[in-house]
Symmetry: C2
Subunit: 239 residues, 2 copies
Amino acid sequence: MNRSLRQVKALAFDVFGTVVDWRGSLIKEGRKLGRRKGIKVDWTAFADAWRAGYRPAMDRVRRGELGWTRIDDLHRMILDGLIREFGLTSLSEDERVDLNRAWHRLAPWKDAVAGVKRLKKRYVLATMSNGNVALLVNMAKRAGLPWDVVLSAEIARHYKPDPEAYLSVPRLLGIEPGEVLMVAAHKDDLDGAARAGLRTAFVARPLEFGDPALKDVVPEPRFDANAKNFLDLARQLGC
Amino acid sequence: MNRSLRQVKALAFDVFGTVVDWRGSLIKEGRKLGRRKGIKVDWTAFADAWRAGYRPAMDRVRRGELGWTRIDDLHRMILDGLIREFGLTSLSEDERVDLNRAWHRLAPWKDAVAGVKRLKKRYVLATMSNGNVALLVNMAKRAGLPWDVVLSAEIARHYKPDPEAYLSVPRLLGIEPGEVLMVAAHKDDLDGAARAGLRTAFVARPLEFGDPALKDVVPEPRFDANAKNFLDLARQLGC
């Protein structure tokens, strides 16, 4: 094991794209809704557009243009904009609320639950997601993801990649930043964690955007670990 | 089931005394340390004195005399005062740190883990303890307490019975105060929860202070439930 990894006591997981397949799950939810309502929508484009609104919305909060707003509410603001664009105006308010909750029902990548269970035997496992606590708790309960502790940007009241978000993990766990390994499928997330003093593990999720050509999964020597999936990460960490 | 309990979606557990036997665990840890160091101490009196310092220390934080201080640090401040009183000056700094960590190693009452597992099938289970997050996470991992989410006064930055502490549970879980059932072995804790609009379940823990004569375990009609232990609570909630 890499020397820098020997001091690690806790793993902090990014969630959207790293633990769960947000895109595949949203497309599935959309198609089910479309069949039920008898509406024809390009649900793939819809899922991509919804996700595309996420970073700009968070950045408005990060720059202080918008007061603290949790992801559930940002998702709803973006959804409200997509309703007209995608011809979804026939959805009732209850159906819109339920569609917005699709983010609470995202399904894990197939190695995720088994990998988390293996890693849990040796490490304290936390989430460190921009998703709000309720979303992460509902998702974990449904998917059987046995986190030791659900931490979130909502608790830090700072979205990643603000250092306050990453640093809330060692602060709340009573350990040093260098004792926390951030696990993510996004290089900018890991770079943010590294700037805050955390260790980094990159996990390739080539299908996050459907087409592997759209995702940079090249291992980087600047990260403390580069893994194919959670089982590969567990193996590299000796779990 | 009581009508007020039908809307409950999440249970919030007090921890010290309700889930774990702080007194028995501290006495055991003390005796082990005493044998190792060859020192004679009344560990029962020591445990009671340590716990007795807890409420006044928290109240200093609640009144604003002391800035936000987590329980690990309050426990250490109290311990430092007891070191001389109980003739423990031969303990090294490492031994004092480890003794303070005894609070992370408290053992659950014998029905607690089985009860939590049954309740977890139906409800979101949170802690709502004055203990800090690291303490609660370490304790849960060691004892096998599968919380869905570890919430703490440390996250709310308000100690119970401040309403902000109780209200952080529905706020972070995205539900209403009346959808949260506070579970505690202390009537003042439940009265604080009720003032904040939460539902209340009293759990008798007659041996919390060693002698049943020292603990008020009389059921109270003002609580939404009164249970003998967690298995009895699970039964009353239809789990």
